[in-house]
């Protein structure tokens, strides 16, 4: 019962703030709404029993990515751009395409509704098993992932700094 109430609150807030992200005129508000939406999705991970991912979502997405978006919004653009219209001429077609994709997902889910009637009970705590997988079976993949992060960091620094000599 508590889970259902919590799920309804988290899901409704997540979807509403996601809609806000894509329609709001002021991009600063969009970045803050993105942070809210990511927090709510993190809460959904929490009630699914993925406790480590709940923490990772809050730390990485809300703490790093949403704040990074805020920084970039404040570093680029001017205040006058907030007054311009936020959507381009393709908005009706894009809305139709998005609705069709959602209808496709809903149709597929309606087909398999009988097979998916209830969730199995969650494992007690998943953090230790996630840690076992990361440092055991998928250890090499984690190393490669660290390499990707390093390359992304160096490349992002290089691109954001600019390649011209006078801007060091």
């Amino acid at each position: 019962m508590l889970t259902q109430v919590l799920f309804c609150f988290l899901a409704a807030t997540a979807v509403a703030s996601a809609i806000g992200v894509v329609v709001v005129r002021n991009v600063v508000h969009g970045a803050l709404l993105l942070g809210l939406c990511l927090t709510m999705v993190g809460g959904l991970y929490g009630i699914l029993g993925a406790d480590f991912l709940f923490g990772a979502q809050i730390l990485i997405y809300v703490g790093a990515i949403a704040i990074l978006f805020l920084f970039v919004v404040l570093l680029s653009g001017r205040r006058a751009e907030f007054a311009e219209k936020p959507l381009n001429a393709m908005a009706p077609q894009a809305a139709l395409a998005a609705f069709l994709i959602f209808a496709l997902v809903g149709g597929i889910l309606a087909q398999v509704r009988e097979a998916l009637h209830s969730l199995p009970p969650a494992a007690a705590a998943t953090t230790s098993s996630v840690g076992d997988l990361i440092l055991g079976r998928y250890a090499i993949a984690v190393e490669v992932l660290g390499l990707i992060l390093l390359v992304a960091l160096v490349g992002a620094t290089l691109m954001a700094r600019g390649l011209d000599k006078e801007r060091v």
Binding site: A18, A94, L119, L149
Partner: protein, 101 residues
């Protein structure tokens, strides 16, 4: 709780993200919409992990990989936004016509 609800939320986030990525004019908002789609995929992975294989955490591990790749993508994308802003002095995608013949 019915597992279909989680997949429906995931599908809604995916559709909203597609709409934002196609229809927004500001390039930073386009990147935000892409982050929404990443989150839809992660929610789907975790819900399917819980639904189909509740005694392992392989789906959650895959979601961790996805979150890390998403972080790298956001960092590179935002660095590109800054570089493009310095070149064009603008953040609207229809103004970026460097490759137009």
């Amino acid at each position: 709780m019915n597992p279909i609800a989680y997949f429906l939320v995931s599908g809604a986030l995916l559709a909203i993200g597609i709409f934002g990525a196609v229809a927004r004019r500001n390039i930073i908002s386009v990147l935000m919409a892409i982050e929404l789609m990443f989150n839809a995929a992660n929610l789907n992975l975790i819900a399917a992990n819980r639904l189909l294989y509740p005694d392992t955490a392989a789906g959650q591990t895959l979601a961790i990989f996805s979150i890390t790749i998403a972080a790298a993508e956001a960092v590179v994308g935002l660095a590109l936004v800054l570089a493009i802003y310095r070149k064009f002095d603008n953040v609207f995608v229809e103004k970026f016509n460097l490759l137009k013949g």
